[in-house]
Symmetry: C2
């Protein structure tokens, strides 16, 4: 009873996630779940890979962006959406806006990778340049919001985004109903919040682990301190995992994420290599971190490791430059 | 009536293919079908990618190998199976033999790709090296057959192999029933024979196109000459597409394959790049040739091109060394 009432305090719940699924179904890919006896054998566990790298735009971000954009009332939507991002959320928002036929204004720092900018342009997003600092990004976005009257769509600290990402669990637990554990990359916490809320609503006994780079371990530190910790700087190859928890994602992470597994960049690179060589799937560093976590010593030493027999791993994105992949393999 | 009686003259038919499906179902992956609006837009056609690169062993070959091995009587099986192959058939046979608990003796030419040899070893195949010539491969295999009393499982000129590969069509036409065209890589013809026999049995109006490297265009030449043509040498990046048609596959190719589309290696490399960057899938050169064919000028000039609206493309395998992929992209 107390549990049920507490769930409603979060920015999303199973109802908003099911609504999101109905809303975005016509637009998203239902991504396949792959398995590999070789990888299961290496890990000593049965592994199920939810391939969000095959999602439109190459990452799970399209689910949340699509839900946010198709949730807007017509009079709001017509003015367009605004965000600041140098990553997959920017392209996802541009693509979802294009599908609804509304403008997307994307503030991009001047140091953003060229391929990510190209993705935004390919989907018809209107790029507004800012300096690389968060201050410049935010002030530029504010200016655009004022000028356009558009709606800000934050990459993760938004109930519509969390609900959209949560649709992954609805699919995954239909495709692999016997999972006892799901491992999810953590950055700002939008993905893991949605996944945890939906999965624990369907199966309260399921374990949700966050996979996080050692060099951006704010979630592990936050869990340990029982409050949001931010870091003065981050240092990881996983460019998608450098954000910090927000006030809407933190309560879910605090309450519903069983533990955070920190891994080194070398482990992430090894996991990318296994994804490529064994699964035949292109996965970016942030996307491979779940496999890295499963194979890590710290997970094997976790007290519940023995009980994690059927593990879902979310391969969250596949936007990785081949040259970067090859360079990292040779290091 | 005449059509029905002629079908039975081939080494496989819809009945043997359905039997194969029942036989191999417990062992194979039902591979997903991916689509991409970007690639459909580039081609001007709706494309459906049957991802046999996700098959066990990283290629469709496991279907045929599995069917051949589980077709054997116990007293035959116990002596093991023998083949000569530089590629995916070798690994597939080793893996299928391992599942049945029988030995697999694999004759491999010294110039075989490293990742494919590693696959054979990973699956417990017993590697016997030969020189790179077909003569050396065949004489070494003969010697092993005599020594072991094992059964030769030819990579393609075998009804059990053709039937196993044909199960792809059963799955694909269930996953994408509205296809009007399927594009299939052609080498020895085992894959395309199975695919054509099953698909045309289900939908006689469906078109089957072979995709073949210009530098190993024996199938195109054979179709033009109305008899099997072999080449003095082949020259293509697609290491899996250098074999010639056999006496069991040729009649099917002659009668049921609508046309052969020849593509240059540069087109294959471009298709691999698109598979990696857009689909996020690792595809070897032989595997990418179907996409290369769809995007080629010669296909666009084909008289039936306008009628090919929903095209299935078989991504036949994903065993490609990353270094080779990267090198080919930089050329």
């Amino acid at each position: 009873m107390e549990e049920a009432s507490r769930i409603k305090k979060y920015a999303a719940d199973i109802t908003s996630i099911r609504e999101a699924q109905d809303r975005i179904k016509p637009f998203i890919h239902k991504t396949p779940v792959l398995s590999s006896e070789t990888l299961s054998s290496i890990s000593g566990r049965k592994l199920y890979f939810k391939c969000e790298c095959f999602q439109k735009g190459g990452a799970f971000k399209f689910r949340g962006a699509c839900n946010a954009i198709f949730s807007l009332a017509d009079d709001q939507a017509v003015k367009g959406v605004v965000t600041h991002s140098s990553g997959n959320h920017a392209a996802a928002l541009a693509l979802a806006a294009k599908l609804r036929g509304i403008p997307a204004y994307i503030v991009i720092p001047r140091n953003a990778p060229k391929c990510k900018v190209e993705n935004v342009l390919r989907y018809g997003g209107q790029v507004i340049w800012s300096e690389a600092t968060m201050q410049s990004r935010e002030s530029t976005a504010s200016k655009i919001l004022q000028e356009t009257g558009g709606v800000l769509v934050h990459p993760y600290n938004d109930g519509r985004i969390i609900s959209g990402q949560g649709t992954i669990s609805l699919e995954l637990l239909e495709q692999a109903p016997h999972l006892d554990t799901i491992i999810v990359p953590i950055s700002g916490g939008g993905l893991i919040s949605g996944v945890a809320l939906a999965a624990k609503s369907i199966n309260p006994a399921i374990r949700i682990f966050a996979a996080e780079p050692q060099g951006a371990n704010d979630a592990a530190q936050s869990k340990a301190a029982a409050r949001i910790i931010t870091l003065p700087e981050t240092n990881t190859i996983a460019d998608g995992l450098r954000a910090f928890l927000g006030d809407l994602t933190w309560p879910v992470v605090r309450d519903l994420v069983d533990d955070v597994i920190n891994v080194e960049d070398t482990e992430i690179i090894q996991a990318m290599k296994l994804c490529y060589e064994i699964l035949k799937v292109a996965v970016e560093p942030s996307g491979a971190i779940g496999l890295a976590a499963v194979l890590s010593d710290s997970f094997r030493k976790n007290p519940v490791w023995n009980d994690c027999k059927h593990i879902g791993i979310i391969l969250s994105g596949g936007n990785v430059d081949l040259g970067m992949l090859w360079d990292s393999f040779r290091k």
